[in-house]
Symmetry: C2
Subunit: 241 residues, 2 copies
């Protein structure tokens, strides 16, 4: 037996998909919707929470519930040969970056494969990609301090300098998981805490085995995915590794 929450969510979903409520439009207030469906406000709100989790509706405190505009999908391309690339359909993304220095500790030390409490100095680059007002991704990149001059605010510059400074990369490892965002991530990405995020940890190792870059990326689940393409060469096809 379907709950009222699900019934209402289904109905609203249908009205959105048929264009009865259009993208960007404000929904009737929760009180109006509650009386229309003859339910209490908590029940109606739980129905809206479902749509919010699907990325169909955005709640803005003090203003109302809004139908989300169809989102430009972004695709993180993995297994990258050079710099990470963001494939977006003709999107000149804005990017804000912040660079600080810190020391490897705890989780970071493990990522960078150095002893805990290591005195290794790191450059941390935090950046957020935007499309208009909607953030697309949150990235934290850690590079050993000697490989990255800390005064470079532009990501591209860092990539270029890295390519010059460091030995050639030997291996890139990317680990992905799905989870709910932390409060901080939800705030920064302007998503609901009930919307899943794709969490990606990338570790790049050079030919000497040293970790030269560790990156933590958080992508909103409703507008981002990650793509990995493996081409098999003739040699790999005929023989096992």
């Amino acid at each position: 037996m379907p709950s009222r929450r699900d019934t209402i969510a289904d109905d609203l979903r249908h009205q959105i998909s048929t264009g009865h409520f259009k993208a960007g439009e404000r929904l009737p207030s929760e009180a109006q919707l509650a009386s229309r469906y003859t339910v209490s406000t908590p029940t109606l709100r739980s129905a809206l929470a479902l749509l919010q989790g699907e990325g169909l509706v955005e709640k803005i405190h003090g203003r109302g519930n809004f139908v989300c505009r169809p989102l430009r999908k972004i695709t993180y391309t993995g297994g990258c040969r050079e710099a990470p690339t963001w494939a977006t359909p003709s999107a000149p993304l804005h990017m804000t970056a912040r660079t600080t220095n810190l020391e490897a500790y705890g989780h970071l030390a493990a990522l960078l494969d150095v002893p805990p409490r290591s005195p290794l100095r790191l450059t941390e680059v935090v950046y957020i990609t935007h499309e208009g007002k909607s953030p697309h991704s949150l990235a934290r990149i850690y590079v050993p301090h000697d490989l990255a001059p800390a005064d470079s605010p532009v990501l591209d510059e860092i990539a270029v300098r890295l390519a010059d400074l460091r030995p050639p990369l030997a291996e890139v490892q990317e680990r992905l998981s799905a989870r709910l965002p932390t409060q901080e991530e939800a705030t920064v990405l302007r998503i609901a805490t009930s919307l899943a995020v794709l969490s990606l940890t990338r570790v790049a190792t050079d030919v000497t085995g040293r970790v030269v870059e560790a990156a933590l990326l958080v992508l909103p689940g409703d507008r981002a995915d990650a793509l990995f393409t493996t081409r098999l060469t003739t040699g790999e096809r005929s023989s096992k590794e």
Copy 2:
């Protein structure tokens, strides 16, 4: 200002991590916890919902709330050269499989790169991996009917026959996203609908460009991640593609 929900969730989280509530143990009833924290039951339940979303607590209707046992992590290994491999620390996973035949339609047709309403016959293999009573993954694999005899209930057999029948693989594409599970997926995987899942779509193409396998995998976010390792050969390092 932290909400009561968050305060209670933090406290419970702390009590679980310090072993005050032990793994597998039942928590006090929601009514008891509500009176202990002097909140109403809905408020207490919303706090529990947070822990549930983190995979720390499992609710069982009519029995109570239980602290989850530390979960054996499973790692999906991507970019696979041969059959997909599941790296689990010495886990003889049980696997239940169901094989049916159907026709390519809609979403499936797009995946398999054939025209919609194509008469292409498919073999669908649905399987769930288990560890004890807890399901680990839900997979739906689609193979053109002529490549896969439908009467093979054992996955390994299918893999072997496929290796014999089909031309060598040329490319494997894996697309990952994070989202909340559907009601059906939550039921099958025995997870809360508020727990994120990692959704993986894998498409394998042979040297002729034909799609020989499409797989849809759903992994619970609290116990599964996906790992992609890219080794760069000398050639790839020195020259761009």
